[in-house]
């Protein structure tokens, strides 16, 4: 909210140190978002006094004046030195106080003042007329200031032309601060000084005129559901003349960024900003029916009802919204949000029906959001407008309308106020207690009782201070946020000063910090992936609905992506089901910038849902991509193209570090994983738990994401990793007897996997076979045979109890060869 300090200072003393004032506002909860200087600054234009006035030697109408400008012109020793000004005006005498523009000044219209010679006499400035300063059209002569005007003061300061305007952030719990008077009260409480509320003196000026038809013979108000509208009042002003507003009103509104519309609308806006009371003026002639009655009903809109609002838009209403309606015209305004076009005040309006009311905050807020209609009024109603005092604020408004637009306030038969008032739901002031000892205990500081009482009173609370620990406090109805004792604590704390509370640390015995098992497992995953050369990254959780199809990733029937109702753009309109598309985009991003070696991983959430589900399913995944090579070409290293086995190696590192047992890699077919290159894709299972997959992204998918392949990747379910993780592997004795190592090659058909060979050899080797390691795979149609491959294994034999002899190992190997041949059709290679 914009607050003009000039305006504010009419109601409370505003500290002269602007920086300190802004800091204090910040610290007490009113954020200062911007400070603006308004109005002409008139640099180098100062107040002055004519010391002497001599005729110009070469002119019959010009004068050579000696002008005192105080300290604005100094001689070489630094003493004030009057200046000489040649002036053509006739309306002044020596001794007059005037306004002088010094060299360097720039006047409205672009006139730049500099030293010059006028008919041979040097002139060091210009004595200004009001027109030259752009202040009025008066150019009958130079401006003559009162005799008591100071000399040598910047004119803008003297004439109070400048205004500082603060843009304040009012938190949503403080509707009372959304007005000038409210801010004055707040500033008063901040500095514990009095403030002045002009409300009553303004309202007293309203005098209903006992003539013609009384308002209560013209208007009736019905409110079927008081929750929608706790209070609705109207007054009528007849004989107004809609036209331009007076200058002071235009300036006031302009100072807080409001455009002047006409005198009636401007007054309603002025009252809104002054007291926080939204008002709406109807043209009574357009509201009343053929018999001259305006039977106002504040009711729920009917399904399908229409209203053309003031902005010219025809709006379809729903029963959640509240309308002001008459039986004859139907809806004439959208309660609290915007008036109707058909009853708008225009230049021909002579009778104003002035609404001052309060509406249900929640409904106002929903209506605003549903229609995308936000206004100064709706913003206040949705935070809460006090139902008490509406009549007085309406009276102040009427008095001001009469003052600026003429006319008279129509009398009422039933009261002296000219008021029709429906107040079906009255807010009762809250009775609260304030336990001083508990407050001090909870804040951790001893805050003096007298300060507590004074702060509460300055905020508008009634405080009964009966010596005991408890204060009885009645919160004002304009503070809907003061509902409980704690709300009062907050008020006192912020105005006492949070900076004055000593800092302590909580005690508490037997407390210890822990991390969950899942978090500890995640730490291992991150450490392992980093040790494997992968870089931790983050990508968007949002995804393009086409991503999964683009990638070729499919899900079981019934698994749906999680859709956003209000996405930022269509390419981010669902939540991701896989981390891979994001990582592929990062691969492409790097490649497009000449970075071809990309190794990334991300740990994060993927989302899915299903028909009938409220909350989606969230799963934690870890995914990685490897493209290019891990090592750059160096003086002693050659880059090696990363492929399937590098990604698999990373997964193997995870298997080791998480102590996963019984881990199997099984080939994935193109039906099972269409997004992976067939033949270079595997699923990973530990025991019976599916962990995820590893493979090279299908070249088609790489292309779709504009990434240059091969891109080796994996995506694992973190939950499954956490579940399958073991705290440690079992201890095995370190061998104390030497091994016998035999290299053994087999020629097998292509479809015999390394895993199968390993299993067969292991089981054929008996307990002396300690380990089997594949060290070579070789294909050659001539030497090995078409459709076949040679696989060479290093077999390590060892006994934990003794040194083995070559004889027994040879026998074991012979048996092993026979079994492997039998099981796989392998041929023993020499």
């Amino acid at each position: 909210m914009k607050v003009s300090l000039k305006w504010l200072s009419e109601y409370v003393e505003v500290p002269s140190n602007l920086k300190a004032f802004c800091d204090r506002l910040d610290l007490t909860g009113t954020g200062v978002e911007a400070v603006e200087t308004l109005g002409a600054t008139f640099e180098h234009v100062v107040t002055a006094q004519v010391l002497a006035k001599e005729p110009h030697p070469d002119s019959d109408h010009m004068w050579v004046c000696t002008v005192d400008v105080g300290a604005c012109n100094l001689d070489e020793e630094g003493n004030p030195q009057p200046i000489t000004v040649v002036c053509g005006a006739q309306n002044f005498e020596a001794g007059d106080h005037i306004v002088t523009a010094l060299p360097g000044a720039e006047l409205p219209g672009g006139v730049k003042i500099k030293k010059s010679k006028l008919r041979g006499v040097a002139s060091c400035g210009m004595n200004c007329s009001a027109r030259e300063l752009g202040l009025s059209s008066d150019h009958s002569g130079i401006m003559i200031l009162p005799e008591d005007a100071p000399v040598g003061v910047p004119y803008a300061e003297y004439a109070q032309l400048t205004d500082m305007v603060l843009d304040l952030e009012i938190t949503p719990n403080r509707p009372d601060c959304l007005s000038m008077v409210g801010m004055a009260r707040e500033v008063g409480a901040m500095y514990r000084i009095p403030y002045r509320n002009p409300l009553n003196s303004m309202a007293e000026k309203m005098q209903p005129v006992r003539e013609g038809r009384a308002i209560d013979s013209t208007v009736s108000i019905t409110i079927p559901e008081p929750d929608r509208c706790p209070r609705y009042t109207v007054r009528i002003i007849r004989g107004v003349k809609v036209g331009p507003s007076p200058d002071w009103l235009v300036e006031r509104l302009a100072s807080i960024g409001q455009r002047s519309v006409n005198n009636v609308v401007d007054v309603t806006n002025y009252i809104l900003f002054l007291f926080g009371q939204p008002l709406h003026s109807f043209d009574l002639a357009k509201v009343r029916n053929a018999h001259g009655y305006a039977n106002i009903m504040v009711r729920a809109a009917e399904e399908g009802e229409h209203l053309e609002t003031l902005d010219g838009v025809d709006r379809v209403l729903t029963p959640d919204m509240t309308v002001i309606a008459t039986p004859d015209a139907g809806p004439i305004a959208l309660a609290g949000v915007m008036g109707g076009a058909a009853t708008e005040v225009d230049e021909g309006t002579t009778e104003i029906l002035l609404e001052a009311a309060t509406f249900c905050p929640g409904r106002t807020s929903r209506t605003s959001r549903n229609l995308g209609l936000f206004s100064e009024s709706s913003m206040r109603y949705e935070r809460g407008v006090d139902d008490h005092g509406i009549d007085v604020r309406s009276a102040a408004a009427c008095a001001l309308i009469v003052e600026v637009a003429g006319g008279e306030v129509v009398y009422a038969i039933t009261n002296n106020e000219g008021l029709v008032d429906a107040w079906p739901k009255k807010t009762e002031p809250k009775q609260l207690q304030f336990r001083i000892s508990r407050f001090c205990q909870m804040m951790g500081a001893n805050i003096p009782r007298a300060i507590v009482v004074e702060i509460l009173k300055r905020l508008g609370c009634a405080v009964e201070d009966n010596e005991g620990d408890r204060l009885q406090v009645v919160a004002p109805t304009f503070r809907p946020d003061l509902e409980r004792e704690i709300d009062l604590y907050e008020e006192v704390l912020r105005l006492w000063g949070m900076d004055r509370i000593p800092a302590t640390l909580p005690g508490g015995r037997g407390r210890f910090g822990t991390r969950t098992a899942a978090a500890l497992a995640n730490d291992i995953v991150v450490a392992t992936l980093r040790a494997s050369g992968l870089n931790d990254t983050m990508t968007y959780s949002f995804a393009d609905p086409a991503d999964m199809e683009r990638l070729g990733m499919t899900f079981e029937a019934g698994v749906l992506p999680v859709e956003l109702i209000n996405p930022l753009n269509s390419a981010q309109s669902v939540m991701r089901q896989s981390i891979i598309p994001g990582l592929l985009r990062s691969v492409a991003y790097n490649q497009a910038r000449g970075v071809s070696d990309v190794q990334l991983f991300e740990m994060g959430t993927v989302f899915s849902t299903a028909e009938g589900r409220k909350k989606p399913k969230e799963r934690q995944k870890v995914a990685g991509v490897l493209a290019g090579s891990l090592q750059r070409a160096g003086w002693n290293t050659a880059p090696v193209q990363l492929d399937f086995f590098d990604a698999k190696g990373v997964v193997e590192n995870l298997v080791r570090e998480l102590a996963l047992f019984k881990v199997r890699f099984a080939p994935l077919s193109s039906e099972e994983a269409p997004f992976l290159q067939p033949g270079r894709a595997a699923s990973i299972v530990a025991g019976g738990t599916a962990l995820g997959w590893v493979g090279e992204i299908h070249p088609r998918a790489c292309e779709a994401f504009e990434a240059k392949g091969p891109v080796a990747a994996f995506e694992l379910d973190l939950g499954a990793l956490q579940k399958s993780r073991n705290a440690a592997r079992p201890y095995v004795d370190v061998p104390s007897f030497p091994p016998i190592e035999i290299d053994q090659a087999f020629v097998v058909d292509e479809d015999v996997t390394a895993e199968r060979m390993g299993q067969v050899i292991k089981s054929a080797g008996g307990k002396l076979l300690e380990s089997v390691q594949l060290f070579d795979v070789f294909r050659d149609a001539e030497k090995v045979g078409p459709g076949k491959k040679s696989m060479a294994f290093k077999l390590v034999f060892r006994s934990p109890e003794r040194t083995l002899t070559s004889d027994e190992v040879e026998k074991t190997v012979a048996k092993l060869q026979a079994k492997v041949q039998g099981a796989t059709g392998a041929e023993v290679r020499g």
Partner: protein, 353 residues
């Protein structure tokens, strides 16, 4: 020539050859040729049988003496040559030590996760546990249980992403839903109060979402760390002390904190915390927009309504909560010019941390 003379000649020749040997291999060849299995000197030993009996003792002595002399010379020469060869090998193996090493490439930690780790460490040290929660929340956990019921004006403080609710429930406002992407990690507070035993000392780092278009200073997804303490006798002073300690740990002991009163629905009293600017040290500069302070986090005493909704008696227990924007902290520590860099996966950026 008598055998002894032959032996003397052989010994002299061999010693000369040993002295002349330049490499271990030459030396070894001499050894094999002279004292090896079929070496010349060995041959004399083998042929002792054919030496006349009376000369045998003398010849035997001479042969042994020659052998000892040769073997000693061999051993000496071997040591000397080995030392010489090692010195040569070392000379030959000298490298330019400024050449790059042959390191296993280690991956880096993302800046944001790095700071989350760092912050978690500070609070683990203070005896807090680390918790997590779901990113898609119901309206209840994101707003209502945090004292911001439907249509509460505080909800407009943050723009929410709504998720299509497939359960068939309809929202009161068109375009909204009871299911949403959490706008704050504060929901974890509620889960903690519902599920954990008292006292509670917990932090919850996590990803949150707000409907802001990505630009240099905004992202629609970012990270928060939520902290919650519920215990007997917790004071506002404890909140100040905790956050002041935390800021000094994260940013350095010379940094100061400032508490500005603010409003959050789930805490009361509430405050925003500023940290003194690390660039100008409070004088005011471009970084802190001339204020000398940088806004870091929001906090406050847990609102009694929030405690009550979770079944905790606010007359017995009190607590505080705080929420910290991790990206904001990251920018303060590293001066990242454009937040979008955090989500691009640019290796040149990631490898810096």
């Amino acid at each position: 020539m008598a055998i002894t003379e032959e032996l003397a000649q052989l010994e002299a020749d061999t010693l000369a050859a040993i002295a002349a040997a330049g490499t271990s291999a030459e030396l070894e060849a001499i050894r094999v040729a002279v004292v090896g299995k079929s070496g010349t000197l060995t041959a004399y030993l083998r042929s002792m049988g054919s030496v006349p009996k009376e000369e045998r003792a003398q010849v035997g002595k001479a042969v042994n003496a020659a052998r000892v002399a040769v073997e000693e010379a061999l051993a000496q020469a071997k040591t000397a040559l080995a030392a010489q060869e090692m010195a040569q090998a070392i000379d030959a193996a000298a490298v330019d030590v400024t050449l790059p090493g042959r390191a296993q490439v280690i991956g880096t930690r993302h800046l944001i996760n790095n700071i989350i780790d760092e912050i978690s460490e500070v609070f683990l040290g203070l005896g807090y546990s680390v918790a997590t929660g779901p990113e898609v929340e119901t309206d209840y956990y994101n707003f209502e249980a945090l004292n911001a019921p439907a249509d509460h004006p505080s909800r407009s403080m943050q723009d929410t992403f709504y998720v299509r609710d497939l359960s068939g429930a309809a929202a009161a406002v068109r375009g909204e839903s009871e299911v949403l992407l959490r706008t704050q990690t504060s929901g974890v507070q509620v889960h903690a109060m519902e599920d954990e035993e008292l006292p509670i000392y917990v932090i919850a780092p996590g990803k949150v979402y707000r409907r802001d278009v990505a630009d240099p200073s905004h992202l629609p997804q970012f990270h928060q760390i939520e902290g919650l303490v519920v215990d007997r006798g917790i004071t506002f002073g404890d909140l100040k002390g905790t956050l002041d300690y935390f800021c000094k740990q994260l940013f350095g002991p010379e940094r100061k904190t400032r508490f500005r009163a603010h409003y959050f629905p789930f805490t009361e009293p509430s405050a925003e915390v500023d940290v003194s600017c690390g660039i100008c040290h409070g004088e005011g500069c471009r970084m802190c927009k001339g204020t000398g302070w940088l806004e870091l986090l929001g906090c406050g005493m847990v609102d009694p309504n929030v405690l009550e909704m979770s079944g905790i008696d606010p007359e017995v227990y009190s607590g505080f909560a705080f929420g910290l924007g991790v990206e904001r902290a990251a920018c303060m520590k590293y001066n990242v010019p454009d937040l979008r860099m955090l989500l691009e996966g640019d290796m040149r950026f990631l490898r810096q941390f």
